[in-house]
């Protein structure tokens, strides 16, 4: 990347950030009814994962096909807290053991297991949401990267871990709710999260968190660390020979991506009102990668648009042509890899950006609206 573009980055990023912020904080809430807005909120939780993937895949060159693990862990930590709150002895009086989650009762579990205990407390649950997935990512990352495992190998192993976690959750249904997941989550600290007003508030909390995460990601990208990541991706050995401990950087960025995903998962559980193993497994994990790839694997902002666009397409397609959805999705995977490896961001850079200066000169001071933004706004 030429030096000139590096100095231009801040202004660029600032504009992109502002456009995205206006879009999700003002345009969507004004243009959409609460039902659609809640859907957008759900899509945006995937954007957390996609942003994490941009850092670790687009910049670090580490493709994880197991981001669902962290999304799921974050979501489950939140869901466990909410489920305990929903399972007060009064609410569960018809059970043979009141006061424990309903699925435990169905499975003859008569006592809350010890590892559920911390989730009685909201602060501890919040800590767990961040800590558990990150620690797990550290374990995987440390084992793999210290031994210089990467590339396709790493992708497959993360995928296997996702599969194992799914089987484990499904199999231990007395403790995890099994394949049904944790359903019927009602209140957060006494505040009913199912009402329309709560959905609206949660949408904004989610949007603000996403913008925060994007900000962190941009800072990482612009820091020396970001530079090292790119160098590592392109020529790992040279970085290593320059005296950097490549593994530690990889572990760090992998953990960061995991933490992002976990926040997304927790917000998902809050907004959708349940969590199930179908977000942990292989299929959702790969879908999350495609969000990132469509947006542009090296574009933090592109990732957010990619998550929005693909999820929206999924909803729209399966409403009108359910049979064609898999064709469209499969085609998207292939097209984005074969024809547009840099995704929307790449198209923007190569086709729209060259036009902009001319546009600016003529129509100053018209604000720049990205194609993704205008398309998404047209929803």
């Amino acid at each position: 990347m030429p030096a000139a573009s590096i100095t231009r980055f801040p202004r660029h990023d600032a504009i992109a950030f502002a456009v995205l912020a206006v879009l999700i904080l003002a345009v969507f809430p004004l243009a959409l009814d609460i039902f659609r807005l809640n859907l957008v909120g759900k899509y945006l939780t995937y954007a957390f994962v996609a942003v994490g993937l941009v850092l670790c895949w687009g910049y670090g060159g580490i493709l994880s096909l197991g981001q669902g693990i962290f999304f799921g862990l974050g979501g489950y930590c939140m869901a466990m807290f909410l489920k305990l709150e929903a399972s007060s002895p009064e609410n569960t009086a018809i059970q043979s053991t009141p006061g424990i989650p309903d699925f435990m009762d169905w499975n003859q579990v008569t006592e809350l297991p010890w590892w559920w205990m911390p989730f009685n407390s909201f602060p501890l649950a919040l800590i767990a949401i961040l800590l558990v997935p990150t620690a797990f990512a550290y374990l995987i990352g440390a084992a793999m990267f210290k031994r210089r495992v990467g590339g396709v190998y790493f992708a497959i192993i993360t995928q296997a871990v996702a599969a194992i976690l799914t089987i484990l959750i499904v199999g231990q249904q007395g403790y995890t709710g099994g394949i049904n997941g944790m359903t019927d989550l009602r209140t957060l600290l006494g505040w009913d999260i199912r009402t329309d007003s709560a959905k609206l508030v949660l949408y904004f909390v989610n949007a603000a968190l996403l913008l925060g995460v994007i900000l962190v990601a941009v800072l990482v990208k612009r820091s020396k660390l970001g530079r090292i990541l790119i160098a590592m991706r392109d020529k790992e050995d040279r970085v290593r020979f320059s005296g950097y401990d490549v593994a530690n950087f990889k572990i760090f960025v992998f953990c960061l991506a995991a933490a992002f995903s976990a926040i997304g998962g927790a917000m998902f559980a809050l907004q959708v009102g349940f969590m199930s193993p179908s977000f942990v497994g292989i299929v959702p994990s790969i879908e999350m990668v495609i969000f990132c790839a469509v947006g542009g694997r090296q574009s933090i902002f592109g990732a957010a648009y990619g998550a929005l666009l693909v999820s929206y397409a999924k909803t729209a397609f399966s409403e009108s042509f359910p049979e064609l959805w898999l064709f469209a999705m499969g085609g998207l995977f292939i097209a984005v890899v074969m024809a547009f490896p840099n995704g929307l961001a790449g198209i923007w850079k190569s086709h729209v950006e060259p036009l902009l200066p001319r546009l600016f000169n003529r129509l100053r001071p018209l604000p720049a609206v990205t194609p993704a933004a205008s398309e998404a706004a047209a929803e």
């Binding site: 039902f35 169905w106 049904n180 959708v272 359910p322």
Partner: protein, 422 residues
């Protein structure tokens, strides 16, 4: 009751529709008790909660998976529901309104189910929803239906432990399927020991829990209980265990693709089910599943269901004929498909009894709704929103159909929270 045929009907019926319509003529009987002639059926009167109802149309939702792993099972339910709706429309609809349906795809993905359920209720304002198949999908949509006060007609036999005011369960809850089946195998086959086998999720586990209690209360023995992950394809180990423990009955609740693998491997391992040593009793293999398993792999097994395609009665004859006319000759109809077919009819009956589409009134009217024309015979809605139904034992034939060898004399009461079995 033929005078119930509506006078208005500017339809150009083609052969299919005609057949479908003729098939339901006996179905008119159900209107009998609940018919109130001096009803006010203006839209303002029958729809006070802003549902999607016009003077000529009422909208309902169909919510099943047509993509993903569950599409295999749910296709039949969709077909049955569409058939029922078309038949009802051919007869003049509900309260003089034609039923329009909006079909949504749950994509075998539980959150998608919840999302679509919400769309149907909030955006489309449907008057009721026929849908869901797996327990997981039902659990996912349940809070949505309760929050937005929708009405769900749920067709699958399931584990019980639930009684929502917003769901009518047209399939059997666990005790209705299990207790009489075990009684039968003990009484007529003299079974003394059982091996319980299932896929690893809530329905098989709960069902086997009830089965085990029932078996042990009779003083008989459970010699093994085993669960395999949902998509497991290798059953040789458990087959070896069965051979060693030599149970009289294998009680199998394996589902999905695992089913095919299990029966093929059982057959290959030299366990000939026609010899009934051991005998196999299943509550998870309908005619639909046999298609994939292959008749030669399961011939001789017994299934405990409330409905089999081969059931001999006039209702069923008409139903099977109409179903084949609508969806093709090669099709088979399983227990759940029939239960799904009941959904629209039960809803219609409840709406007409209530004289209103309002969900609250439909709910109030639902208990004691009778259907004399159900393919499975007479059914009635219990106060707990489940159906009174019979249990039948089918004996698998080589051609993939079942011979009905036993049916309970009386309708069995649904008991979703069975005392003493928890």
């Amino acid at each position: 009751m033929t005078d119930d045929i509506p006078a208005k009907g500017p339809y150009t019926l083609n052969r299919r529709k005609l057949l479908a319509a003729m098939a339901t003529i006996p179905a008119l009987g159900m209107l009998g008790s609940s018919r109130v002639f001096a009803q006010d059926t203006s839209t303002a009167a029958v729809n006070t909660t802003g549902l999607a109802i016009t003077d000529t149309e009422v909208t309902v939702g169909i919510l099943h998976s047509v993509t993903g792993t569950m599409a295999i099972s749910e296709t039949g339910s969709v077909q049955a529901e569409i058939l029922a709706i078309e038949q009802i429309n051919a007869l003049g609809g509900v309260l003089g309104r034609q039923i329009k349906y909006i079909q949504e795809d749950g994509a075998s993905d539980w959150p998608t189910f919840a999302e679509k359920a919400k769309k149907l209720l909030v955006q489309d304002k449907v008057a009721s929803v026929m849908g869901c198949w797996t327990s997981a999908s039902r659990k996912a949509v349940l809070p949505v239906f309760e929050q937005y006060n929708g009405m769900l007609y749920y067709p699958t036999f399931y584990e019980g432990l639930e009684e929502s005011p917003n769901v009518i369960y047209t399939g059997q809850e666990a005790t209705q399927q299990i207790l009489a089946g075990i009684d039968w195998v003990v009484d007529t086959k003299g079974a003394k020991s059982f091996y319980l086998l299932g896929s690893d999720y809530i329905w098989p586990r709960t069902s086997n829990k009830i089965a085990r209690k029932h078996i042990e209360m009779k003083g008989l023995k459970v010699v093994g209980e085993e669960y395999y992950p949902l998509e497991h394809t290798q059953f040789n180990s458990v087959i070896n265990k069965i051979k060693l423990t030599k149970p009289d009955v294998i009680y199998a609740i394996v589902v999905g693709g695992s089913n095919v693998a299990f029966y093929k491997q059982l057959n290959a391992a030299g366990i000939d089910l026609t010899k009934e040593a051991p005998l196999l009793l299943t509550i998870s293999v309908t005619e639909d599943e046999v298609l994939g398993i292959g008749g030669e792999n399961i011939v001789g097994a017994y299934a405990a269901m409330k409905y089999f395609q081969s059931l001999e009665n006039d209702n069923n004859k008409a139903f099977v004929e109409a179903f084949k006319a609508r969806w093709g000759d090669g099709i088979v109809i399983g227990d759940v498909t029939q239960a799904a077919y009941l959904g629209p009819w039960l809803w219609k009956a409840a709406v007409e009894k209530a004289g209103s589409f309002d969900v609250d009134k439909v709910r109030e009217a639902s208990p004691d709704i009778e259907l004399t024309t159900a393919p499975e015979g007479y059914v009635k809605v219990h106060e707990n929103h489940h159906l009174w139904s019979k249990l039948r034992i089918g004996h698998a034939r080589l051609d993939g159909q079942y011979d009905v060898v036993y049916e309970t004399a009386d309708l069995m009461e649904p008991d979703p929270f069975p005392e003493g079995y928890q």
